[in-house]
Structures are given as structure tokens and as C-alpha cells.
């Protein structure tokens, strides 16, 4: 039993709750839409974390730098040549893509994908766990903040998005970057997101569960989140999903996570930020070649991004995807045809609002005296410059001091276009107003 009076009062106070009558197929469930005078929404953010320290030098290959080849005797990606299938795919005469990233070349040519090189964190740590922690908290060198950068962004941004799906962590454990006062839902699969068992009892059990999980502490709140999410996702799952023509998601967790995310975005249930992981990048040995990790991982990564773009098409103008990794890898290869932990790395930014088709970089070079620490690629673009630019220009949030505390010297490289202030266009006369 719910409180009729309370609801009516609230509706009276807030004025008109309008619903868009946009032309979506009937099967797509739409539940939470914003009212007409909502604050600017900003893009949907998709933050991809490549876990393990992805080898940026072999992902976005500096084939124009001679030192790259002298440092990587056996694992360097050869210079672009039309005949060789294993050579780098040239982008701008200096940088090229690992051959397994052919899908990204398409996006690059369409100018919706940008690369950033020699990017990363100023902290020198080579510990995966510390480096990931610093990057996800958005506070290099410091672990005081228990919140993540995305969690803080959601906290301070003016918004009336109360959907439980506002923040989504694809996977079994909610990513640290999402931690904060706005609750995040951890999600592996839409299809499984419901109670299973004898149907007559389930409803009563679900009701009792809801009452047992009343309360204000963390465990209870998570339980409440779960119950609401279950109800919504049950409906989403019922409709089934077919990706847009041309969207071929790769098998595996990463591809399926992006597919699920695309489905939820199209379902218009209020997804605003999502965190997705792709792991396995810690290539200490046998990095490349037929038995190496990189070709397989990069195929998954590239195909995933391309499929996501192809699936969401026009909607990509309101979506910004950014990838990062906790650090890059050592410039020189090690004795096992792999690489040890490094520093500077590559980031990708993809979306309709991206000034793509370019590699943004202040290339420090790989000469011995230009390397950082024990022989790493230096960092010339702080990762917060990239993320900060996205937050401010694409996510309608200029409170960067809250998102990235203790960092003030932001240096935007012009990777994304500033979003023009817009509201959701609702056809005049078809909006609804509820009886006062």
C-alpha cells in the first residue's frame, strides 16, 4: 500500500511531469524521463578500465620514433606497409594502431575516436593496486577519499535524475570510481536479474524481503536498490534485444557488457554513467604473436567499441566513452618477450562530441634521457586533463574542483566539443499534465 496523498502533493508542487512521445518502437520500455525544466543532462559517460597496465606503446604505436624499434627487439609492431598483415595501421604518419585494432581505424576515420598518448598519472607507483586506486579515486598519491571521481561527479552535478540506474557498474563488484553518495547498481546480466523459483510464493517473498530491507544503512539500502532494479530489469528483459544492424559484439565479458549497456541505454531507464572493465593486460611475458595476449585482447577491445558505436548510432552524439589503464608498460621489452610495469599510456575517447581522427599528444620521445624512472614512457598529459575536459564540456558539470580535488592546473587539449545547452525536446501539445 502506498501513500496516495504524498504522491499527489509532490506532483502538485513540482508542476508538470511531461513524457516524451518520441518515436521509439513499442517494445522499448520507458520509465523515467525528465521533466521539461530539468537541468541540462549532459552525455552518458562510459568509463572503460583496462586492468593490468595495458601496453600503450604497442596499442598506439609510435612507429615514427626510431627508439621504439631499438628498445623492442622482438615485440615491436612493424612499420606500416601495405603488404604486411602484422604491421601497424597508420593514423597520422607518426602513430599507428596495433593491427588487431582495425575496427578502431574505422572510428578514427569517421572522426568519432581520438587517441591520447603519454597520458596518465603523475604518481610513480608501479603497483597495480595503488595505481588503480589512485586513478579511480581521481586522487593520485592519496587514498583519503573513499569516493571515486565519477561518484563525486554525480554527487555535485545539478540533476533530477533519480533513477536507480543512474550509475551502473557492469560486473560483479562495483568499480571504485563509482563509489559515492549516488548508489550504483552492479549488473552482470539483465536476463538473470530476478528471483527464481515457484511463482506463487515469489511475490510474497519479494514483498517480505522489501520489508526486511527497510532501513538506512548500507546493507539495507543495497537491498532496496536491488529490489527496484529487479522490477525494472524484469520488464526490460521481457522485450528481448536485437542490436542494430552492423553491430557485431565480440564474445566474452567485455563485448557482452557493452551490449547490455547499449540495451539499457536504449531502454531509457535513466542510465547516466557506466563503468566497464576489460582485464588481462598485465603482459609480463609473451605479449604478442600468435600465442600472446595482446592480439586477443585488442580484438575484443576494438570490436567491442565498434559494435557499441554501430549499435547506438545517432545516440552516440549524447554519449562519451573514455578508456584508461592504471599505467603503461616499460619502453624496453624484458627477457620473456613481454614488458614490465611502466608509466605513460594511451587513452581513447569516443563519441559524437569528440574531435576525433587525431592523436592528442605532447610526445616526449623514447630516447634514454627522455624516459621516466626505470625506463618508462613519460606522462605529458595528466589523465585528469582528459577526464576533466569530458566532465566539463560533455557532462554538464563545471565543478571540477570537487571531481578532482587538489588539482587545479587543468590543461584541456580540445579533445571534445563543448556541448550546447539543450533540454529534451518534447513535442508541444503532446506532453501530459497531471490533474492537480
Amino acid at each position: 500500500m502506498f501513500d496516495e496523498i504524498k504522491r499527489r502533493d509532490i506532483l502538485k508542487k513540482s508542476g508538470v511531469l511531461a513524457l516524451g512521445m518520441l518515436a521509439y518502437p513499442a517494445w522499448m520500455p520507458r520509465i523515467a524521463l525528465r521533466s521539461n525544466d530539468a537541468p541540462p543532462a549532459g552525455d552518458i559517460l562510459v568509463a572503460i578500465f583496462m586492468r593490468g597496465g595495458a601496453d600503450g606503446l604497442n596499442i598506439l604505436v609510435p612507429h615514427g620514433d626510431r627508439n621504439y624499434y631499438s628498445l623492442r627487439d622482438t615485440i615491436a609492431i612493424s612499420q606500416p606497409k601495405s603488404a604486411q598483415p602484422d604491421s601497424a595501421i597508420d593514423l597520422d604518419g607518426f602513430f599507428g594502431l596495433h593491427p588487431a585494432l582495425r575496427p578502431l581505424k574505422e572510428l578514427f576515420d569517421q572522426r568519432v575516436l581520438a587517441g591520447v598518448h603519454a597520458a596518465g598519472s603523475p604518481d610513480p607507483t608501479h603497483s597495480h593496486f595503488d595505481a588503480m586506486d589512485y586513478m579511480e579515486r581521481g586522487t593520485p598519491g592519496e587514498k583519503q577519499m573513499s569516493t571515486g571521481w565519477i561518484g563525486r561527479h554525480l554527487q555535485v552535478k545539478a540533476s533530477d535524475n533519480k533513477s536507480p540506474f543512474r550509475a551502473l557498474g557492469l560486473g560483479t563488484i562495483v568499480q571504485q570510481s563509482l563509489r559515492g553518495p549516488v548508489p550504483a547498481i552492479a549488473l552482470q546480466s539483465i536476463a538473470d536479474y530476478h528471483l527464481r523459483g515457484d511463482s506463487t510464493e515469489l511475490e510474497k517473498i519479494q514483498q517480505t524481503l522489501a520489508s526486511l530491507y527497510e532501513g538506512a544503512d548500507f546493507l539495507q539500502a543495497e537491498g532496496q536498490e536491488t529490489l527496484v532494479a529487479m522490477q525494472v530489469l524484469a520488464k526490460v528483459a521481457q522485450s528481448g534485444y536485437t542490436p542494430a544492424k552492423g553491430a557485431q559484439y565480440p564474445q566474452g565479458y567485455f563485448g557482452q557488457a557493452l551490449r547490455t549497456l547499449a540495451q539499457l541505454i536504449k531502454g531509457e531507464i535513466g542510465v547516466e554513467v557506466a563503468a566497464v572493465d576489460i582485464g588481462g593486460w598485465d603482459t609480463h611475458q609473451q605479449e604478442d604473436g600468435e600465442s600472446g595476449q595482446m592480439p586477443r585482447l585488442l580484438t575484443e577491445f576494438g570490436q567491442g567499441l565498434l559494435a557499441f558505436y554501430a549499435d547506438l548510432q545517432d545516440r552516440m552524439k549524447d554519449i562519451t566513452l573514455v578508456s584508461m589503464s592504471e599505467f603503461g608498460r616499460r619502453a624496453q621489452e624484458n627477457s620473456s618477450h613481454g614488458t614490465d610495469h611502466g608509466h605513460g599510456n594511451v587513452m581513447f575517447v569516443m563519441g559524437g562530441g569528440v574531435n576525433g581522427g587525431k592523436v592528442y599528444c605532447n610526445w616526449p620521445g623514447l630516447a634514454a634521457d627522455k624516459l621516466y624512472g626505470p625506463g618508462d614512457l613519460a606522462v605529458t598529459t595528466d589523465f585528469r586533463d582528459v577526464l576533466g575536459e569530458v566532465v566539463q564540456k560533455r557532462l554538464a558539470n563545471s565543478n571540477l574542483a570537487a571531481v578532482f580535488p587538489n588539482y587545479s592546473k587543468f590543461n584541456f587539449r580540445g579533445i571534445v566539443k563543448a556541448q550546447t545547452v539543450r533540454r529534451i525536446d518534447l513535442p508541444r501539445g503532446e506532453g501530459l499534465s497531471l490533474p492537480a
Binding site: I173, E201, I205, A216, F218, L219, A221
Partner: protein, 585 residues
Amino acid sequence: MRDRRLSRRDFLKGSISATALFGMPAWVNGLDEQPTPDDLSFTSSMYPWEWMPPTDLGQTDPAVLVLNRLAFGPRAGDVERVRVMGVDNYIEEQMSPDRIDDSAMDEMLKRFTSLTMSVGELAGAFSDALIQQRLKRLVQNQGVVMDARSALQGFLGLFGPNMSASGGTTAPPQVNPSNLLIEIIQATVLRQVFSERQLFEVMVDFWSNHLNIYLLKNQCRFLKPIDDREVIRKNALGNFRELLQASAQSPAMLVYLDNFTNVKGVPNENYARELLELHTLSVNGGYTQTDVQEVARSFTGWSVSAPQRGLFGPDYESAGEFEFHANQHDDGEKHVLGVTLPAGGGMKDGEQVLDILARHPKTAQFISTKLARRFVADDPPASLVARGADAFLKSDGDIRAVMSAILHSDEFKQSFGQKVKRPLEYVASTLRALGAREATGSEALGASAIGKSKAQSGARSGGAVAQALQLMGQIPFMWEAPNGYPDVADAWINSNGLLARWNLALALTTNQAPGFQVDPLSPPGANAAGSPEAVVDFWIRRILHRNIPSPDRTKLVGYLGGDTSPNKIAGLVALILSSPDFQYR
């Protein structure tokens, strides 16, 4: 601005009612019918995003406490038994696992033949076509021969799929390789549920995470079961220095952290770094990048034996054992953490490093912290950690001494509710609380439990237990990173994990979890006319062994609605197992 602060529920309801007026699909209205917790408002200032332990459970019966910390939860009769023998005596009993009769468990494990195989037998029996091909190509693609590459080649060799351990042309391997992978996982979970040596199993889990090895990394598939036996289980309640030595020489660890390719001239730092950061000093242990490199140099040459060339093919008899390759060892002088290791030390270099690390106050602090986190609280009290570290140093790394300091402390005694069950504890404690038995003749855990990243093994369906563990993300030995599974509530309590727990409870209470048998849940001796209140009280006592807040009890009585048929009782028990109360330990 206040006007716009709608609760999520209200907001949803508002938009739903509106659409109903305009002929949207009926299901949209259906959302209205779900009950609303009265206080469901997620305004950003109110949402608690960190778990704070309840403060009112400290006086819980000590017998219940120890059975939730030293064991994976009480079975029927356990609490009474511990009360009668006394908590201190229970602790002492569990600290000497060898004296505890575990023959029933041994019987259950007999069918897992891989657990007692030698590495030669395992390597010979294990034939993974993918690995064969990959290894073959790897060897073929080598160019210039260097020491490292010879070592690599030698070890990888050519694992012919039809060769037996003795190198003769005998019958093809009997063991299905996918089964081998499952056995170690199955055995681990079964032990957590059924072994009488519960504290031992808790410690095995602890050290398996502390010295984490990912089962699916290359040869770790058949080397980790050896490590489980020879490193972890041999030393779980023993001496830390010995545990560290065994781990450093463990072929599984040498492969997992790449040390078997760590050679003179081109060292590989992976093991050295994690040894310092994760196994001993901790990330704040005060070591430098140079220390990491010097430690790496110290462990050059610590490698693994390759299969020998037999008459008819590879001979696995002595393959996969630790081998020190003196010719690959960097024998120069080294400086590690302020200590000079003179040139010519050979294998003693690495052992000296282990000596330094095992004795180091930072190691004592780190190990004590992690044990206190496991046994007392996510954020363990500094005073307790200090006493544990002290016990570590004074006893030269005797694990039992640290355990004793922790388990007999006041902090421990008052700590019920300070920990939340991780998925493995949830699964095990649920099975134990329900008195589940292994269903004979069927697999408790299926192949899909470990196939999450391998499309090939996705086809077979695992039991509800395996599915739950996979959904919740805590299958033993399947954590890729060296730091092991996290041990704090914030990591595990999320919507995905809770739903998985609720579904497992539902499956088990209706006996729909293949692999386990749960007897019908009728209270013994009670007749069908037992009042709903009595039934609820019985099951609260039986599952939780303590009183719960009266409103919760009322809700459970309300659920029964006067009906105490078996169907409803199954639902009742599922609710108790799903409630917040059962998540605390």
C-alpha cells in the same frame, strides 16, 4: 529546489500513472503494485555508500561468534556442542587440526583423484589442445636462442597429448582436463562445508588469497593443485618463513608471477614486486624500486624442471618441480633493504631475502593486519594489530601464535556483526545451516563455474551453488590478480551479489540445487498445528542462533500468514537466509 527532491519511488510512480492514461503497455502499471518501503528516499545526502557495522551485536553468544569466524557457520547442534565444551576449548581444538578426525571428509574427497597425483602424473594426464598448439607455435617461432628462451622452451616442451608419465606408448589419458580444473575448486568448497577441521579450512582460504595464484594462467592449471597441497595446506597453521620458502619455490607461483623466466642480465620483476608488496612488507613497507630490482636479481635462476626426453616421447616423471639454474643466476653483489648480499651467493641470495622479509616488522604488521581483518573487523583495531604483530615477531613467525593473540582478545570477543559474509562464507554457511548433504552421483559444481572466459566450457550447466558463486564473483582460484579476493564488506555487498544470495537461498530451501540435498524443512517433532509464531521462532533460533529485532520477527510471521505448510516454511527459511541478519557474522 526542495520540491524537486522526489523520492525515486515517487518519481517512478508519477510517471507510470501518467502513462496509464495514454494506453501504454499494461506492465508499466504493474510497477505500481509493488510494495514500497516507507522510507525509501535516495536523496544524495542520505545514501550511505560505505558499510558501517552494526553496533548492537557485540554481546552475541561467543559460541555463535566462534562458529562464524573459526568455522564457516554453525550446523545444527554445533552451537550446543561448543557451549558445552567451552569456547576456549573449541579454539584449542581447532588450532590442532591433525588431532581432529576428518575421515568422513577424506571419504568424500576420494573421487577427486587429481588431488593426490604427482605433478608428473597431472602434466601427463592434462591435455588441453589449445595449450598444446600455443606452446608448439611458441617454440617454433623462436629466433635467436638465449638462455631465457632455452629455459622457456625446455619447460614448455612438447606436451604430447597421448604420452603417459613414464614416456611409454600407453593408453590416452583417463582424466578429462576440464574435470581436473573443477576438482580443486569442488574439493575446496566441499571442504569448507563439510570438513571438521574448519579453522584449518579458513586458514587455507586465507593463505590461498594472500599468496594468490590464478588457476587459469597457463600451466597453473595443473601446478596450482600441487601448490594447494604442498605449500598452502602444509603450512596454513605453521611457520610463515617456511610458508614463504615453499611459495617462492612453488612451480605454480614461479609460473604465475613469471619468475621462471627471471634470468641473469634481463631480470623479470613481477615476482619480486609482489613478494614485497603483497606477500610480506605491504605497499607501505618502505621498499624502493631499486629494492624490487635487487630482489629480482636475487631470485634469478629459480625455475621449474622441464619434461625430459624419454624413449618414446616426453617423460613427465620429474617435470614441473622446482629447479635452481645456477647458470642463469645473477651472482653479483646485491643490496636489499639495506643488507648487502655478497657475490657468489647462489640460491642463498633468494633465501636470505626471504629471511629478511620474514623477520621484518612491516611484515609482522601486515600479516597481523590481514589476519585481524579476516577474523575481527574490516578495519581492525590498531591495538589488536600491534599485539598480533608482536606475537609474530616474538615467535619468529609462528602463525598459531598470532592467531592465539587475536582469538583470545577482547576485541575479537566483542566483534560479532563486524564482518559481513563474503560469497564463499555465505554459500558455505547456508549449506551448513540447512544441513545440506552432497547428492550422490552428481556433480556439485559444474564446468561452467570455471569457464567464464572460455567459450568452450560454457555449455554445461553447473549447480545452483556454482552459478551463485560465479554470479557473486568468488570462485576459488579464479581471481586473476595477485592480491587475492578482497576481504571487506564494501567489495561484496551490491545489488548483483544480494540477488545471487537470495536466489541461492530460494533454490536450496526448495531443494532445487543440483549437487546438494536438503531435507524437507519441517521442524522435528512439531506437528502441522504448531503456531506460526512458534515456527518462526524455531527457525530463527535454528538458522541465526540469536534473537533478531522484534519488527523483523513480526514481518516473518506476517509472511506465513497463518499458513505453516511445507511450501511456506521453505519460503520462511529462504527469507531468514536472505535477511540482513544472516549476512552478518
